[in-house]
Symmetry: C2
Subunit: 245 residues, 2 copies
DNA sequence: ATAACTGCTTGATCTGCATCAATGCGGGAT
DNA sequence: ATCCCGCATTGATGCAGATCAAGCAGTTAT
């Protein structure tokens, strides 16, 4: 799970473009800038439906969205949390493979598909940056498979909290200090459960167990305090490489 | 298993290059051809170790390899099966994130890292094709997360067999007919179990249950016959989109 | 304030898969 | 052939997490 807020490869930020394109074709930059438009959607909006055509490709500017697939019998599995700088839609693939839903108010930087695809095929810089972003997502997706396939419920929840804390720290461009950390959860228990491949009840029980063990405090359901981050991280770090980088 | 695959994006095949590069810079093609070399490794060879430097990028020409991560306590999760035309290593990432092991004798088409990375940054065609391949892998990895997170043991095994059959059919460039299909499993029960996030015993029991239900026959542990492919596929297809594309 | 609603927690029970433990089977060496 | 040895199957039992079922707390409406 890559949760940094200001990746090198973020495609909606002109400052990044300038850095990357410094000595490259400036017209490429102009075209990318010209092709984009911004739009904000309220919480709960379906930004894409699995199998349905997706005529805009977007980069998330602000907010949080979820990517999931739902079975006919109701089982749901999230395959990713989409955060600022993450990309929605794929060049060359006209439809979305997953449901994408705004988990909070979300602002997108949108590119009309045809324009963007032309850029990707003709501009080496853009294509290369898309490749780097996609490789990051691939690593995250594979790491996620490891979590879902082999971790216990407790490990899944700890892993979730630790990564959320690390992302938050990265967003503020500092590292997680050895001390206390406070988190606001962007997701409901149900969404967390669907993310972790668990039920709501099991997820809730794991939060309660961690609280009883003194590893977290929960002033409210959506707020988590971690008095000793290292102690929490030890629950998963000490015995494997299963931590999502 | 016959592994002659012929994806559009396969990077070791000059014929494909020619098709893609037809009107593009031919020197790019020359350089790619010049940079490659072939090598064959016996079954069991560790082609890459998680965290270790990987100085060659490779395209699989023949054989089968597995990608996995192992926890300190022995838990192991495979994150992918690598088959001909699949790629090992990532431009811009000097180390492998996973253990990659030859599951059978494997022939690789290898590119020296520096040469290949130069090609990716300078040649739009190569970069674009890498992007398409990576997007395919990303879809597969996310689909895999859905399988691991929400499918039952039986569904996992059925999904595995159905996908293997489909890949095999795709390799022979035909579709899976409505009738009987014969498969040779390229993996041991243990490896299948690690792939599916199950134990050996559960995997074996599921094979036995499918046999008892008449959905498969197993002339040997490594050979599976599917008398009615559609009937098997119905076990998963009718209620979701959880099939790996 | 009270009611009604929604999301969270907790308890009791059930079950699917893991674990522990034999047993069977096939292919290679002698 | 016979003895292996690694792999696969099958059985008995245990347990983590799912399911079923109440309660509870925060929020919005009246």
């Amino acid at each position: 799970m890559d949760l940094t807020l200001a990746k090198e490869s973020c495609l909606h930020c002109p400052i990044r473009h300038r850095a990357v394109c410094a000595e490259a074709d400036r017209s490429e930059l102009e075209r990318l800038e010209a092709a984009k438009s911004y739009r904000t959607f309220p919480r709960g909006t379906m930004l894409a439906e699995a199998g349905e055509p997706l005529d805009h490709l977007s980069s998330i500017v602000a907010g949080c969205a979820t990517m999931s697939r739902t079975f006919a019998d109701g089982r749901r599995q999230m395959v990713g949390l989409l955060l600022p700088s993450d990309f929605i839609g794929r060049p060359g693939r006209p439809t979305s493979a997953y449901n994408i839903e705004a988990a909070s108010e979300v602002t997108l930087c949108r590119f009309e598909r045809r324009m963007f695809e032309e850029l990707v095929t003709s501009a080496p810089n853009i294509a290369h940056r898309m490749l780097v972003m996609t490789l990051d997502e691939l690593d995250a997706a594979r790491d996620w498979a490891v979590v879902l396939g082999r971790m216990t419920a407790r490990e899944k929840v700890v892993n979730f909290l630790v990564n959320l804390a690390r992302r938050e720290a990265a967003a503020h461009d500092g590292s997680v200090s050895g001390g206390a950390v406070a988190l606001h959860l962007p997701l409901s228990r149900e969404t967390i459960a669907d993310y972790l491949g668990l039920t709501i009840e099991t997820t809730s029980r794991q939060f309660s167990a961690l609280r009883k063990d003194g590893l977290i405090a929960t002033p409210s359901a959506r707020d988590v305090q971690i008095p000793d981050f290292e102690a929490l991280a030890l629950e998963i770090d000490d015995d494997d490489g299963g931590v999502i980088s």
